[in-house]
Symmetry: C2
Subunit: 311 residues, 2 copies
Amino acid sequence: MHIAFCCTDTKAEPWLQGLQAALPGATVQLWSPGAALADYAVVWAPPQAFFDEQTALRGVFNIGAGVDALVKLRLPDATQAPVVRLDDAGMSVQMAEYVCHAVIRHFREFDAYEADVARQEWSYRKPRRRSDFPVGIMGLGVLGERVSRALAQFDFPVRGWSRSAKTVPGVQCFSGLAGLNDFLAATRVLVCLLPLTPDTESIMRKETLERLLPGAYIINVARGAHLVDDDLMALIDSGHIAGATLDVFRVEPLPAGHPFWAHSKITVTPHTSARTLRDESIAQIAGKIQALHRGAPIASLAGVVDLKKGY
Amino acid sequence: MHIAFCCTDTKAEPWLQGLQAALPGATVQLWSPGAALADYAVVWAPPQAFFDEQTALRGVFNIGAGVDALVKLRLPDATQAPVVRLDDAGMSVQMAEYVCHAVIRHFREFDAYEADVARQEWSYRKPRRRSDFPVGIMGLGVLGERVSRALAQFDFPVRGWSRSAKTVPGVQCFSGLAGLNDFLAATRVLVCLLPLTPDTESIMRKETLERLLPGAYIINVARGAHLVDDDLMALIDSGHIAGATLDVFRVEPLPAGHPFWAHSKITVTPHTSARTLRDESIAQIAGKIQALHRGAPIASLAGVVDLKKGY
């Protein structure tokens, strides 16, 4: 069995060693143009040339949950070589942490307390009501469900929106374009966990964001292209939106001089909300490669991407 | 039925109105020296003179969870007039929020990311292992149990310590002085939720704090007198303790010029971790007054304070 590893922005050596240790019978190699044909590929944002050359693949494993960088490419026939994304692999608990931390920070006004304390001021703020803080999650996949469960534990009203209708315990669910306005209209904190597809690109723009409850907060942990940056800035300036916590950006790293960097109502983090954990990911990918190799049907694997949907 | 309200530092009018509305048959009055004898008292840090004059009380209701300011006074005979503290009343979810927010902030190094972002630096930090972050909770009452449940949901190993042996699902429990060292020795984040009693005063001092795992964090949401301020500072300076989140202080408001205000590794909040919520508290106290008045046995009320234990 030959495995090709082709990942931009990722230190290859520990992945190669880890995959080799997990699949001792396999040949695991870092891909470069002209390399031998591999049976399976482990990738992150590979170039088109990779797929143009690798014509014998039987499975493509993405070392992340989002496959937007991958599905833009010309890929092998999915019935022969499915694209498989990471299925949790330690990411959902990180996402629950990140989102709960941000929601609590906004709800409890910790930023305002911090500013008071910086002036050595012992201040009092009237506690906000939890019922005034419905949190709306866009995207109810593995990550969205885990985040909604974590938020419900702090007694926030939790709402959810997804492309197709879903039922999540404890979550008031909306779906499709028909349900979007009702979902937004009673949401105070909007959390974006959607896959990036042509349908969801720029979903957070003036027309949608201004439907949120006044004094809304935005938490984007999906992809930068879900948000129209200028529309967010304008709605913060107008006071309709009270603040945002952004982990993802249209261009990453966020370019020098971008107004998000220093905006007092925008918290920036460097795409760190849910990091790929190497050991968990290698174990998961190796297990799926072994299953495919033993002849397991594609449909039996968790995380197989529907290329038409884009996630 | 006469109810006397005697609370320092609290705006009386909304409490008086709320109690009156909840107990329409009662006379609810703000106490002042020489006032008529009341049947029940609703108090927060009242003066000794209140109890010296009020000799006909049948119940004393504290509008907070901690009764350390109350049990220092000469009180009526507890078999005639039990001291009853608030039993949750919306406080435990706030405590869970505050503590989870602080633990996640420390675990995920959000302070360090914030400092990087302030320099417009897009940085990378190796994710920490959850197994290296056992959280130890001192105090396993209503608040401690709720906090432990919230933390366990984020997959942190949770340990607990209490005066008498307890069993809490998912928590590795230790008890008594005999169990304290073992509890501390594998704790990375120490959360104090103890009642303040002669036994627990200064429990967080050099000898105990230096037993924590290196790079420990302290979260104090109980009382300022649980912590020896200078010992914390010395252990932060030595590097053994990596940081602290403090909501309570020996003197409140925290005095001007106190070194905690501006310390880069200490986060100060103005005793805001779990605030008394007026509506919930009034409903709970009114219910208990009605129960006592109907002749319910003292032992049937939740939150009756054991004056010998001090909580």
